[in-house]
Symmetry: C2
């Protein structure tokens, strides 16, 4: 299978770099074809600007419209086109990053901001006329996985941990990016207490990651609800008979 591995750490000699190297070696041994986007090494530009779209800089910039127009006309910036081609080829997409401020480093957020333009990642009209998204985007059939590290312990991101439960912290990424564009989202791989690892901890992290990668195409994805399945009403609010009396991001898991 084709795997796109997106890596967002400034130092390849870091724990993240070592885990990445071990993971890519494992995937290669398993016979997969891996493409990589090492964003720091690529000197990736994370900032959305008018010139991404060949847009007249003196005109008003409406990002969604300008980006979908550029996609249609073939006038998107070259670096965006290259990443989109990698995504099209991928059967699975892995985003690996240190958890900075409970989200992605800016260089990775800007990979998403710039590459997933309207009409590519989302925004295609279905036959019924509504926008294809949430399980029905252009990325349908692909799998997606977050591999992330943090200094704090696993307890701190447990269901009642002080940093907030990991699943809900990652909801904007899992549900709002991956599932929005149609990808099936696997439970994340977390490497916790990353600042104080013993060689044994490191070995366990490498083995744990290899283990998860060996089932990348067989693990059950998170059961997010699809927009097209009649789960939501005309205002895109969850039907009252689903997860009745519940609220918050968790209601979108079936």
């Amino acid at each position: 299978m084709n795997i796109l591995w997106v890596f967002a750490h400034p130092d390849t000699r870091s724990l993240n770099g070592a885990l990445r190297d071990a993971a890519l070696a494992e995937l290669g041994k398993a016979g997969h074809r891996v493409e990589q986007s090492d964003l720091y090494r690529m000197n990736w530009n994370p900032v959305v600007r008018a010139d991404d779209y060949g847009h007249d800089p003196t005109g008003r910039l409406h990002v969604a419209t300008a980006s979908s127009t550029a996609l249609r006309r073939g006038s998107l910036a070259e670096d965006i086109v290259t990443e989109q081609a990698k995504l099209r080829r991928a059967d699975a997409v892995v985003l690996q990053f240190p958890l900075w401020w409970f989200s992605m480093p800016a260089i990775l957020k800007g990979w998403v901001d710039r590459v997933f333009v309207e009409g590519f990642g989302y925004g295609i009209r279905s036959e019924g006329g509504s926008t294809r998204r949430y399980g029905d985007g252009l990325m349908s059939g692909k799998r997606a996985l977050v591999v992330t590290s943090m200094g704090g312990s696993e307890y701190t991101v447990s269901t009642r941990g002080i940093n907030g439960s990991l699943e809900e912290l990652l909801f904007p990424i899992h549900h709002g990016i991956f599932w929005y564009t149609g990808m099936s989202v696997l439970p994340p791989v977390l490497v916790a207490s990353a600042d104080r690892m013993t060689p044994k901890d490191y070995r366990a992290a490498v083995d744990g990651l290899a283990d998860r990668l060996s089932t990348l195409f067989t693990d059950s994805p998170i059961a997010y609800r699809s927009q097209s399945g009649g789960n939501y009403d005309e205002n895109f609010v969850l039907r009252s008979d689903l997860a009745p009396d519940e609220f918050g991001v968790r209601v979108h898991v079936g």
Copy 2:
């Protein structure tokens, strides 16, 4: 009072730009002193790199350690130092941005990544020896507010809306950045359906924002639990008698 307004939209002629201009005029009329960080206009660099810290590029980069060392030694990059000075002076911080992929645009995420270095925004040891954070950071006493716009309707980010409830979507920012560093977090200002506004809608948005800004220093903040108040156990998990049988990010609101 001193207000720092951080603005992250590529086009000042946008709805966001117009709202910003109206807001700054209101704040001025009310007698506040406003400093601005218009990140696109400043051509802000959002990418954390070794040279931010005067760090030897041939050595391994441990971001938290390198940044706190540079803060202590006064060797942080000049643009970071400037933003930190603005934050020190501020009584309230407003982040205004279009909601891109249910989070901040990369240029703004990179403002947080680079400016809130260890030892400035967080990571100071308290007398008891634990790290000062969550209500007890260096930013204590300051107020923080998100002003954001989105194309979708308010229904889509309501408590059971398909995009996920706004309060939980913003938890990584509200709790993980603002509250983490000690700021009091106000309920966000959302400008929804931003792509199809009538002049009347626009007027209502301007008035709504002005209204919220008039109570910036009197509104009740979100009642996040402090780390230091005995709310969490030794593993930083919420005590079982608080929000019993509940789980997820919401348990951190008292």
